[in-house]
Amino acid sequence: VTLPQVVLLGILLSSFVTGCVIFLLKEESHRLRTSLNLAGAALKVALVCVLLWLVLGDESPHLSMTVAPGIVLALGADANSVFFVILSSVLWFWTTLYAVGYLEDSPHRSRFFGFFSLCVTATVGIALAANLITFLLFYELLTISTFPLVVHRGTAKAMSAGKVYLAYTLGGGAVLLLAVAWLQSIAGPVAFTERGALAAVVESHPAELRVLFFLFVLGLGVKLALVPLHGWLPRAMVAPAPVSSLLHAVAVVKAGAFGVVRLVYDVYGIETARDLGVLGPLAWLAALTIVYGSVRALFQDELKKRLAFSTVSQVSYITLGTAIFGPLATIGGVVHLVHQGIMKITLFFAAGNYAETLGIHRVSEMNGVGRRMPWTTVAFTVGALGMIGIPPLAGYVTKFYLKKGAVTAGEDWVTVVLVVSSLLNAAYFLPILHRAWLLPPADRWPAERKFGRLETHWMLLLPPLFTAALVVLAGLLADAPFSPLAWARLISGREYGP
């Protein structure tokens, strides 16, 4: 066993073992649980840094295990993995901190944090999976481990949301299973390979591969919330705020998006996918989702629901960038994996703060909230402006590359979609900002809690400020080495031939 292999396993185990231990803890051992949580999260970030260092040093860590004939579980780290694993481990650290603050004094915390840890284990597993079947394994593990989080509150509403969630995701999982098994019966076990792994069978099975592509999209599309498979996402908003952040920014939706990236670039290969003619329909689906999600968001008064529909829309930018042929569009799509994550998590953290501190759940209750909670509202504003695509924030960089990529590829209609979407984004975010900053506050908040000198608990305040700072930095320093953009460029460079 070599150092890189230890690192790979360590990244998985740092949260898996933590989760298992937490399950066994008594409800009252608050400090032990919190320390374990944060230590596990910090260890994971540290290990991910080591991984980054190894990959930059031209190592390609790999670890595999034959489970049964035809089933090889394999972990590895290529540019795509590293990108996603950094995103998830860093955001997980802050979400953990946030969750600890958020769930103070609420029941079933050991159960919650146990599954929380399993959830992130699944996410980094998805990032580090080196072949399709390993990906499938963690993809399903993610479904299972998020269910208890979605239904955590245990109310009838939470239960029905949980049922819908499982019905969608397990259905999608079954389709994905079929797709993976079918592809394996044609091409043998598929390992993720830069520029595609199917070159040998494209000639002989073009029709089947086309059908398979859409089976994959169907299977991944559920988590990705691709219209019309998005129904579970707004309902799942009954979950506690840290869970929503996790679902939207780091884990579930992102797993679907990352799956599509893997599918197009590392299973089919972008050139093969173009030659098969499957990219066009995918781009249309993504465009439809982008516009549909934004339109629905306009009409939501519940803040978290509005954010949920906004996620439906925003995540499909990744799909759109992936579905347009050309390095620039690829950069735009891939970089949005991170950009959407940091922006959306900021928004959800802020929304959670409003709910926890003032009892605000609806947009119509947000009048003047900026005066009562300036820092939270600053973070929210940064996230919202980023989503709209105001320079120099992260969202601008994405949209810039998507637009350039679409024009280069001769897909001019995409620019129309992007403009419409940006206008819609502005239409559902700017009224919130207007209310928050400019309108006078109501006489009293729905349910206010005091937290001493700070506007809210420090564990709730710090995470959104940090991620908001990331949104600014990712935009301002986009051209610096090690920015998300730089890494996306590296990935794009590898996925297209010299």
């Binding site: 295990m65 489970v67 049964a68 004939p69 159960r111 399903e140 245990g154």
Partner: protein, 489 residues
């Protein structure tokens, strides 16, 4: 311990212990625990021996076939004996808590009879898996059936007695059909030895009628749709350790004999069309059992119907293996599936029993909040459920995946649909349980205390189903040179 002694002990030790437990009821519990522990070592040792030297064979008392009794062990037998031993120990640990005899006369009576019967059942199972001829298989099937029926009757209520009675009749009719088949074959070929028959059997009408009779009888014992009707009442009204043993181990006996018959004795002589029929019954079992499980009001009945469905999957291997070029993958798939079900289902039954004991009932819609009152048992049901649905990384997934892959490769699309739809239906019935489990209880529901070992033994079984998912290559290696077409020499 020598190979011969190991095989003989695997049968004799539980038998002697059963007699001991019956004669000295005071010592029944320690004797039972010690015997099952010893079986664990013997079973493990058998696996080691077989993986070292392949087939083992022994003539008891030195009398050779066709006159004497021969014990016979290959990878398949060893794997199943090992599984019985491992699962048996955990069930025994649970039973140690369940049948502690403290709780009045009735409870003392159950404790008095459980241990002898349970040990007897283990002896019958081991003898079944180690038998090398059709007649011995008949005897062991009969013994197995009788022990199982008596265990079902153990709980003593009216429902249990009715279920046991029905089980008894089905079991007897099944044995009779099987015996008629054996008689036909013996008349035609002058031997009942599996290996000798395999050489001599010709695809005559005579042989086919025998195969049909035996298959029919064994299907009744394996509870394959539409002969499953006796299983849900029997398995759900028995005490938890008994339910676990019946669902996990006993019904597999019939399947095991069918596998030997079809692919060792009648390989080639059986018609592919007949295999499709068997597969179709399996598919019907998957769908029917799952739908029934979805609409049950009581947890233990739900789990029992889930067994009907899971048994169905096993029979999909018949049509798939009839056409396969590489059967090794299929044997691995079917056997991993069998082991996965054995571990997961026994864990689930034990956990369901715990919940019933704690709550005083097992009505699904009144089980709100059991994740709070009995977290470990609820977690066990969830984990075992994941394996039954066939989600990775459990062994249930590995088994399903291998069957799915074979169906796709052979272009037998209809089985692909059955496997996937069956998984979704399984998910649906598990979700029903889980949504209630995670629900906040309306008020603090009373919960009776349960000995810890009863919860941990159930959990260990569910974990076993999970771990097997990572180490399914081990059974694959054991199966490499048993059953024709396994890729062996």
């Amino acid at each position: 311990v020598s190979a011969d002694a190991t095989m003989a002990l695997l049968v004799m030790l539980p038998l002697v212990a059963a007699i001991g437990a019956f004669v000295w009821p005071r010592w029944a519990r320690p004797v039972g625990m010690a015997a099952t522990l010893a079986l664990l070592f013997l079973g493990a040792w058998l696996v080691v021996l077989v993986s070292r030297s392949g087939h083992l064979s022994q003539a008891i008392g030195g009398w050779a076939a066709p006159l004497g009794i021969r014990l016979h062990a290959d990878g398949l037998s060893a794997m199943l004996v090992g599984a019985v031993a491992a699962i048996g120990v955990l069930i025994s640990i649970h039973a140690h808590g369940e049948f502690d005899g403290s709780g009045g006369k009735e409870s003392a009576r159950r404790a008095r009879y459980f241990w002898p019967l349970w040990l007897f059942l283990l002896a019958a199972l081991n003898a079944l898996f180690l038998s090398g001829d059709l007649f011995n298989l008949y005897v062991t099937l009969e013994l197995l059936g009788l022990a199982a029926v008596a265990l079902v009757a153990l709980s003593g209520g009216r429902a249990a007695l009715a279920a046991a009675e029905r089980y008894l009749y089905v079991s007897l009719v099944g044995s009779l059909l099987y015996l008629m088949g054996v008689a036909l074959l013996y008349g035609g070929h002058g031997t009942v030895d599996l290996a000798l028959l395999a050489e001599r059997v010709e695809p005559t009408t005579h042989a086919r009628v025998a195969l049909v009779l035996m298959t029919g009888g064994l299907m009744m014992k394996a509870a394959l749709f539409p002969a499953h009707f006796w299983l849900p009442p029997a398995h759900s009204s028995a005490p938890a350790p008994v339910s676990a043993a019946l669902s996990a181990l006993v019904v597999k006996g019939g399947f095991y004999v069918l596998l030997r018959l079809w692919f060792e004795v009648f390989d080639g002589a059986a018609v592919p069309d007949a295999a499709q029929v068997v597969g179709a019954l399996g598919a019907a079992a998957v769908l029917w059992g799952s739908v029934q499980a979805m609409i049950q009001e009581r947890l233990k009945l739900l789990v029992a119907y889930s067994t009907v469905a899971q048994i169905g999957y096993l029979f999909l291997v018949f049509p798939l293996a009839s056409n396969a070029t590489d059967r090794g993958v299929l044997w691995t798939g079917a056997l991993v599936f069998l082991l996965a079900h054995a571990a997961a289902k026994s864990g689930m039954f034990l956990a369901a029993g715990n919940i019933k004991r704690a709550a005083g009932h097992d009505r699904i819609r009144d089980l709100d909040g059991i994740t709070h009152t009995r977290p470990l048992s609820a977690f066990t049901i969830g984990l075992a459920g994941v394996s039954l649905i066939g989600l990775p990384p459990t062994a249930g997934f590995v088994g399903k995946w291998l069957l799915l892959g074979a169906a796709l490769e052979q272009g037998q699309w209809w089985w692909v649909g059955v496997i996937l739809v069956g998984s979704l239906l399984a998910a649906a019935y598990m979700i029903r349980v889980l949504t209630h489990a995670f629900m906040l209880a309306p008020e603090e529901t009373p919960s009776r205390p349960i000995p810890r070992r009863m919860e941990w033994s159930a959990f260990a079984l569910a974990v076993l189903a999970l771990l097997l998912g990572f180490f399914a290559a081990a059974p694959a290696a054991l199966l490499a040179d048993v059953l024709p077409g396994g890729g062996g020499p």
